[in-house]
Structures are given as structure tokens and as C-alpha cells.
Symmetry: C2
């Protein structure tokens, strides 16, 4: 069985994702698809709109064969660690022949050459030693620009390709580059593919196409309209029926709005010195947080958005700030997520769901995987898995009236099976 | 000006409190009254129904001359530290000639003799050295009974008065005893008075009298009826009009219900080992908390009550457990509230409000007080004051749609002045 891996969030799963899914099978010639999916909190530092279970259901309905949870230790990280965790999961599975990602460029040769050259320029590990690339990165950061911009500039310089800045500035090219860097670093054997992203840009919030809109735009549309049906033109039928069910059950939409009071109460009682123990709280941002919180006017609405605006600078992207708040909400301490720990790659493969064909694949994975394959969370212990379960519990605590089995679903429920 | 001190919570202020207030002036022959009042969180480990400002207004309307905030470091403690903090505040003021408390016994001679004998039996300081009393207390605790019961038994034994158990078992007698022990320990010069409590017992939740009901019963009535008018027979007019205003503005009722999600999200992400850094988390209760939380069924209603029931044992009173949750909510670390720090008595007198006569009294206090008199919180720094402000901010975060000035009112508002 030829298998392709994809790296996804499905927040929510829309027509663009279906296109990517289908193209991945076509370009790789694969029969089966393993999806590594972020769980309850995502790379932009946000809670997922609906639970990981509902999103797994969408993925299986689309045709994914095995859905693996990307541990929250990686899923809420900057692009480098996110990519490293996801690629390490696909590689560890031992059954994935290739992986395929969307990019603006669509040119795997360009991206792969860049990755190989950057890798050899010693910028091969997120925790790598000091070198030419790191020096350049640091010097760009000193100018007070954001990390993604500094990264693109340093990479372009390192590649001896000033025009490189243009393609590097596009978010899915950067992410793709990080997938390929992770592959180099891991000495991985999977064949990488990329396909051109269709229509909607990653950050796009307006809907300009009749069938494909970005997940960001769809979340905004759902928030504005409050009805799953509003998404109907842009998503497969199963997405909006699952969303509808989740909305009606009071399990969606989950957003930062749901957690503002929790976050506020935490920040109000935590001294800056204590905040520095939390991941991504660096460079004195702990002092700025206190002032930014004190300036929020909850009675004027969107307090979390106000907090982000109060904190935002040229240096800190909103995504970086949201991730910092996610770390605080989930109480991710720096020592729990050290580069040494993350650098080992995912320590287990948590199965969220599988198809009939996926069941066969799982059997192979159980013999070939480099790390334990976990189908019963209660029967396996690892500090990262504990973080995953905690994050799901915090996520579910935002439901309207959560049942005990919903709050601790990881302990109660086996993986989803479709059909 | 002859001045009497009283120690209050006014949650809310009712006819029984008015009686106590009037009797305190009569028995002490005082012209003026200084009230030491708990702020945002109270001795039973609960948030106050309405803000400290609304309760200060009630106290001033009744006729109190100066309202001092009992720091949260003391206000949410077991009876011994609560009493010590409050009596130390009255003593430190330098202008209070006497203090008067309600008790079931009403016999100051009995209580004072007991206090003197217990004090000399070396049970004179909450952090006192080991001695006859401590030994007895520990041996009673080993039998697994609650602290208040063990305390009463040890005290009765120490007093050589087996019948003492009866009067010691009554909560206001015990509290009164602690006031008098604090007075002994401080070598205080104030004359103590006690008056018999009228009608409603402290813990009573039913209303059996036409005009006097316990604050507990009144909070229950308010929760059941949802209208301030329901309290009208049992409270002065200003209490229910102030309550009505606070309810309409979405600033009341504040209760543990408002904080359950915040508490849950905190407990879900905090490891037991980390909980032990928090005050009152002792004797392995950190492990029981995790299990108790996991058994709560929020969809069945009253999740905080369920959590308390899940945690309750013969050993731990609900009050003790609520205080533990208050410490967790407010993130009071053990080292911030060490016996050494608490044993120094209140380090400042924070003025919440005053009358015209109170203004004169404040002038005297400024020259005679043993500790700084604080009228502008923003202009004074002390770790305990920071805890007070934080606790007020957390309390206000439960309001329906808090304004910035409500969340951080301590920084913005001067003391209340009446008339």
C-alpha cells in the first residue's frame, strides 16, 4: 500500500483542503493517506473552532485513512518546531512513503534546493549551533523586525538569492521550507511533493471565490452569521452538518473569546517573574503583558483582540502573541518544552481515527513505527501526552455545559472509526 | 472621642449587624466606630456577594465612621489568623479604645479567662512553639476529626473544663476566643466587649424570624429569588437599594459559580506538585483535588458544589476546602503568607471609606497609628496590598461586563465619603 502523509489543522475542513487531499494522492500516486492533525490548540495560537474529534470525523469523511494527533507541544509552536514535529511524526510512522504540502510556489525543486543549502549552512536544527545563518538571523532581529521577516531575510542572504525574499515571504512557502528542513535534519526517507495552493491565501479574511475560501475567512463568516449553513458553498456537506451538530450541542464555536476571563484571572494573579517560567515569555514581554491587560476595556467588547492590539509591535506578530497567551492558558512551562525535548521528535503517535483501509495501515504501523502507537490514552504515559489531554480538557471547558465524558474524552473514547 | 472597633464582613449588611453595631456603641459608651472589614474574599473561602465598595457604602450608611480593609492575607484565613489580623489592625490604629464582638455566650468574663489560660498554656500564637496545647491539638487531629473540632477539644482539655466543649463548639464563641487570644498575644490595650448574638445562628440557612436572618440565609434567598427586594424584611433600606443597583449593573451576585470555569481551567493545567506551593494545599490534598475535579459533572449544575462534596471528608470542613480553592484562585503562594509574615500583624491600614466624624478620626490615626494609613493604593507598595488589589480585580472580573475602572478600581478611586 503506497501511502502519502499530509499535515493539517482542518479548522474547519473546506473545499481547498479537499483539493489538496485529492491532489496529494494524485501527485504521489498513493492509495492511502495519513494525516497528522493538530489537536485542540493550533499553530496560530488559537483554540480550534471545534474539538479534535469533530475535525477527525471531517477528515475521515473526506477519505483520510489514519488521523494522528500532532502533540500540542509542537502544534502551538513557531513554524520551525511545528514542521519538525509533524514531519517527525510522518517519518516515525514507518509506513509513509511521501508527503505533500501546499505552497504558493508549487515548485518542489526550488524549495528543496533552498532547504538543502540552508541545512548545510548549519541552520539545520531549530536548536542548532551558532553559524552563518544564526548570525544573520540575529542581526536582522536586532533591527526590531518580526521573526518571520528576519528569518526570510537571513535565509535569502544565506541562499545568495536576494530575490528569494519574495517567495520566502509567502507563509506556505516558508512552512514548506521548514518541512523540508525537518526532513533534512531527520535524514528522512519520504519523498516530498508540493502542490500550488488554489485561490485563497492563508491570511485572507474576505471571501473572493465562489467555492474556495480560507479557513480564516470561514471562521469569520461563521462568527458573523452564527449558522453552519453560511459555510455551505465553501465546505463539503459533512463539514457543515458536523459543525451544525457541534453548534447545536454547545460545543462550538470555541475561540479566544471563551477563554478571556480565564486568561485575565490568570494574568491578574501571576507576577511577571513567574510568567517568565512559561514558554515564549521572553525578552521582557512579561512586563508589557501586565500593562496591556490593565488597558483592556472589556465593556467595549472583544477584550482578547484589545489585549493583542495593546501588545502588538513591529517585533511581535499577532500569531506570536497568541501563541504566548496559549502557553499561559495551558501553563506550558519552558522546561517542559525545551529544545532538547522537542528535538527528539514526537515520542508517540496518538491515533485519533481511522478508516477500514486505515486499520490495515495501523497494523503495519504497530510493527514498523519508531515510537509507540497509542490508541488508548489512558494506557500510555508521557509528559507530552499529558499536555495533549490537558489541552483537550481546557478546550472542552469552553463548551456551553460540558459533560464529564466530554471534558475528559481522551480517557474515555477510543479512536473514531469510519465507516 | 471614644472609639469602638468592630470586625465585619457585611455580606450583606443586615438587621442583625445593625443591632450589633448599635449595641457595640452602647456597651462601650463610644462616640465613633472603626470597622475592620474583609475585602473581596471572605473567611469562609468565598467571594463577597458585592464589591467591598458597595459593602463599605452600606457600613457608612449604617453609621460606621471609618472602614478599614482587612488584608486578604488575613481575611481568607482560618479563624486564628483572621482574628489576629483584625485585632492587630484595630490595635495598630492607635485610636480605638475598645472592641466588641458578637458571641453565643455573651459572657466576656468566661471568654477572657479562657483566653488568658490558653495563652499562658503557650497556645498564644498561631505560629507559637510546641507546648501542652499543641500536643493535645495534634493528638486530636490524628483521630481524623476536623480542625475546629480538634481545636475545641484541645482547648477544653487545656482549660480543665470538659463542659467547655459545649460553648467552644459554637462558631462565634470560638471566633471571639481567637480575638481575645490575639489581644493577649499583641499585649493590646483595647477593652474587649461581647454581646449576645440575636436570633439567627451563623450557619443557619432557613429564615425563622421576621426581621433577623443570617447573611448565609440572605444570600440563599437572593440566589433563589434573584431580586434584592426579597431581602427587604431582613435588611436596612440602604442594603437592598445598594444591592438592587449592583444587581442591575451586573456587578452582583458574585459567587463561586462565577469562578468555576476559571478554577477548573487552572486545576486542569496545574500538576499536583505545583499545587503544593499554594497556601493551605497540604497533607496530600493536591492529589485528591485532581480526582475530585475529574468527577464533577458540570452539565448537572452547581459544579463548584459538586467539587466541594467530592473533596469533603470528616477531616476537611467545607469552609477549609473553600479557602483552599480561594488560595488557588488567587494564587496565594505559601511563602507569601508565611506565619512569620502574618505574625507581624497588618502592615498598613487601608481606608475604604469614612464619615465626617471619621475624617477627624483619620487625622488622629495618621499621627498615632503604628503602621501607615493608606488612602491612595497607587501611592503605597506592600506585597499584601498587591494581593488585596489583585483579589479585587479577580472579584470584579466576574461582573457581567466590567469596565476598566471597575476592574482596577483600587488604583482609580479614593475612599468613599459619607455624607
Amino acid at each position: 500500500m503506497k501511502t502519502v502523509g499530509i499535515i493539517v489543522e482542518y479548522n474547519p475542513l473546506h473545499n481547498g483542503h479537499v483539493y489538496h487531499f485529492q491532489q496529494s494522492k494524485i501527485v504521489s500516486g498513493a492509495d492511502a493517506v495519513v494525516a497528522v492533525m493538530s489537536g485542540s490548540f493550533l499553530q496560530r495560537g488559537e483554540p480550534a473552532l471545534v474539538s479534535k474529534w469533530a475535525r477527525t470525523e471531517m477528515a475521515l469523511r473526506m477519505g483520510a485513512d489514519v488521523v494522528i494527533e500532532l502533540p500540542v507541544a509542537y502544534s502551538t509552536q513557531p513554524a520551525e518546531w511545528f514542521a519538525f514535529g509533524a514531519v517527525s511524526a510522518l517519518e516515525a510512522a514507518g509506513v509513509v512513503d511521501s508527503f505533500c504540502f501546499g505552497s504558493e510556489s508549487g515548485d518542489i525543486g526550488l524549495l528543496r534546493t533552498a532547504a538543502k543549502r540552508l541545512h548545510s549552512a548549519d541552520r539545520h536544527a531549530p536548536d542548532g549551533g551558532e553559524g552563518r545563518f544564526q548570525e544573520a538571523l540575529r542581526s536582522h532581529l536586532k533591527n526590531g523586525i518580526s521573526y518571520p521577516h528576519a528569518y526570510a531575510a537571513a535565509a535569502a542572504g544565506c541562499l545568495g538569492d536576494p530575490s528569494g525574499l519574495d517567495w520566502l515571504a509567502q507563509p506556505n512557502n516558508t512552512l514548506g521550507l521548514h518541512y523540508l528542513l525537518a526532513l533534512e535534519r531527520l535524514g528522512g526517507t519520504m519523498t516530498p511533493y508540493t502542490i500550488s495552493r488554489q485561490k485563497a491565501g492563508y491570511h485572507q479574511t474576505d471571501i473572493t471565490d465562489e467555492q474556495i475560501a480560507s479557513a480564516t475567512a470561514l471562521r469569520k463568516l461563521l462568527a458573523d452569521e452564527g449558522r453552519a449553513e453560511a459555510l455551505r458553498p465553501f465546505v463539503p456537506d459533512y463539514t457543515w452538518t458536523i459543525l451544525k451538530r457541534e453548534l447545536e450541542a454547545g460545543r462550538a464555536p470555541v475561540s479566544w473569546d471563551c477563554f478571556y476571563r480565564v486568561l485575565f484571572a490568570r494574568l491578574a494573579v501571576t507576577a511577571p517573574a513567574e510568567l517568565t517560567g512559561i514558554g515564549e515569555v521572553t525578552e521582557g514581554i512579561e512586563h508589557r503583558i501586565g500593562r496591556a491587560v490593565a488597558d483592556v476595556q472589556p465593556d467595549l467588547g472583544d477584550p482578547f483582540g484589545q489585549l493583542m492590539n495593546n501588545l502588538k509591535t513591529k517585533r511581535y506578530t499577532r500569531t506570536k502573541l497568541q501563541r504566548t497567551m496559549t502557553r499561559i492558558l495551558l501553563h506550558h512551562r519552558k522546561e517542559e518544552l525545551s529544545p532538547e525535548l522537542l528535538g527528539q521528535g514526537v515520542p508517540y503517535l496518538r491515533v485519533l481515527g481511522f478508516s477500514a483501509q486505515g486499520q490495515e495501515l495501523l497494523k503495519q504501523m504497530r510493527t514498523r513505527s519508531a515510537v509507540p502507537v497509542v490508541t488508548k490514552a489512558a494506557a500510555f504515559r508521557h509528559p507530552f501526552l499529558e499536555l495533549d489531554i490537558r489541552s483537550a480538557t481546557v478546550h472542552a471547558s469552553a463548551f456551553r455545559s460540558p459533560a464529564k465524558a466530554e471534558l475528559w474524552r481522551d480517557y474515555y473514547e477510543p479512536p473514531l472509526r469510519l465507516p
